[in-house]
């Protein structure tokens, strides 16, 4: 394992200390319980958005704390859900009295820990569950689909909506609508290495890739031979569009997300393949985002996310945002 770290057990705290130091104008850090919050106090009447999950997906979620996006983020250990004390302390810190909306990726660990936090919370809470990963068969007998990079879209749009003073129930409904209009799928060329584990999570041959991989290096649909970017995007975008059910002529947002070790040069090449397929399906790529937003430590590979847009959600996407990782309009 080759990483720029000191002590394996101290990574999270040391990294967050650097994060808070670099972005002290925007965020502040609580070390125990561990959470990151906007420096600005939540205005009265504004619902506070709190997300969180295992670390290792940076900039998700702490990088999205700031004006027009999250009010707080609770980082768990690497790939491990945070614990309820973190969510409770964060809620207490950022609740303005209008309640707290938890944005939770659909993993049982996250779901249960946020659930316990909600049960113990002194304020009104609601929850939006993201589950955009079409790689996983959607069966009511299992846990359902994973929440992956589409979470970034949900956090951005809800963040903008919260700024307008939208109430908790309406925000929650909007979140479910955005999540319902979002589909993702990913593919890994290499494994990630969890620092505490010290070695790669999975073995993969020089000529293999993992199609449909999750954001923790969980195996995906199947192990296949390494293919061209064009063939990879064909399969991923095919699965996404088949499941999305958008009508011809609709606007969509296209997000190409790197998993951490894939250079921008490759991500833009993938973007070109993806955008051409979206357009060929009769949809319009009205908004785009290309970069490393929801990563898997040092995994090589990428995911595609498509969100159906309407006038409201397009406006929410375009609204000013000022966070460590995402900034526009101000």
């Amino acid at each position: 394992m080759k990483k720029l770290i000191n002590d394996v057990d101290a990574i999270l705290g040391e990294s967050l200390a650097g994060f808070a130091r670099a972005h002290g104008d925007l965020v502040s850090l609580s070390q125990a319980p561990l959470f990151v919050r906007r420096r600005a106090v939540t205005p009265a009447g504004q619902v506070a958005l709190i997300s969180g999950g295992g670390s290792g997906h940076e900039p998700l979620h702490a990088g999205f704390v700031g004006r027009g996006m999250l009010h707080a983020a609770c980082p768990g250990q690497v790939f491990t859900s945070p614990t309820p004390d973190q969510m409770l302390a964060a809620a207490e810190a950022v609740d303005s009295g209008a309640g707290v909306l938890f944005i939770v990726k659909n993993y049982e660990g996250d779901v249960m820990n946020f659930e316990m936090a909600a049960e113990m919370a002194p304020c009104a809470t609601a929850r939006v569950l993201t589950n955009d990963d079409v790689a996983v068969e959607n069966s009511s007998y299992t846990t359902g689909r994973r929440g992956v990079a589409g979470t970034v879209v949900v956090e951005k749009m809800l963040g903008a909506a919260a700024e307008t003073g939208m109430d908790l129930a309406t925000l929650q409904a909007l979140g479910e609508r955005v999540n319902g209009a979002t589909r993702s799928m990913g593919c890994a060329l290499t494994s990630c290495t969890v620092p505490a584990a010290g070695g790669p999570t999975f073995e993969i041959g020089e000529a293999e890739m993992e199609m449909g991989v999750g954001i923790h290096g969980e195996p995906g649909r199947r192990r296949v031979a390494l293919a061209s970017a064009s063939a990879i995007v064909e399969e991923m975008m095919g699965a996404i569009l088949a499941d999305l059910g958008a009508a011809k002529g609709e606007d969509v947002l296209l997000l190409v997300n790197g998993f951490g070790a894939t250079p921008l040069m490759e991500l833009y090449l993938v973007y070109d393949e993806a955008a051409r397929r979206v357009e060929a399906a009769g949809l319009t790529v009205a908004r785009s985002l290309v970069g490393n937003w929801c990563t898997s430590l040092d995994m090589a590979g990428c995911s595609l996310t498509v969100t159906r847009l309407d006038a409201e959600t397009t406006g929410l996407w375009d609204a000013p945002v000022h966070t460590p990782a995402l900034r526009w309009g101000c």
Partner: protein, 210 residues
Amino acid sequence: MSNTLVLRLIEGMAGTIESHADQLTRLDQAIGDGDHGINMARGFKELAAQKAAIAALPLGEALKKAGMTLVMKVGGASGPLYGTLFIDMGKATPEAAPTLADLSVMLDAGIRGVKARGKAEVGMKTMLDVLCPVADTLRSLVDQNETDGLDERIIAAAGHALHRTTDMVAKRGRASFLGERSKGHLDPGACSSALLIGAVVGVLAPSSAR
């Protein structure tokens, strides 16, 4: 239960988890995200750090505090689940020193909590696939008033149940994302449950410990 027994139970569980952490992590790398051993070790290390304070409490309170400690320290799926197991066992603990029958009732209560928290049942390739068979064995032995060799039987039940998770297709937890590909591997949480049961039996009936 005496103060020192609780102390020794915590030490026994924490020791087992610590020495098997790598193994649990390897199992989780195969069908999960490779952190189960790390999570459990973090939680039980904290439990060990607080053992004196916990052992000073009445058993029911001790279990609840142990459970809350796990909830706040383990994280992941196993944190709330093991936490709930201990907390709900604590809630079902009598004031007097528990009999074997009480223990069986307590374990059943804990398992009900785990099922509700995780929306899971037996056969879904989770920790329940060890916890439930063990609870069933304990209950039936208590019902039949057959306490001879009880410890070996519990250990055997746990080991056998753990082994059977190999052939299961996961329906809960991260392994469920793998569908059929989850077959052929032990479930990590089932393994940690078997280890904890072994540790408890080892403390309560040292002669029969594996």
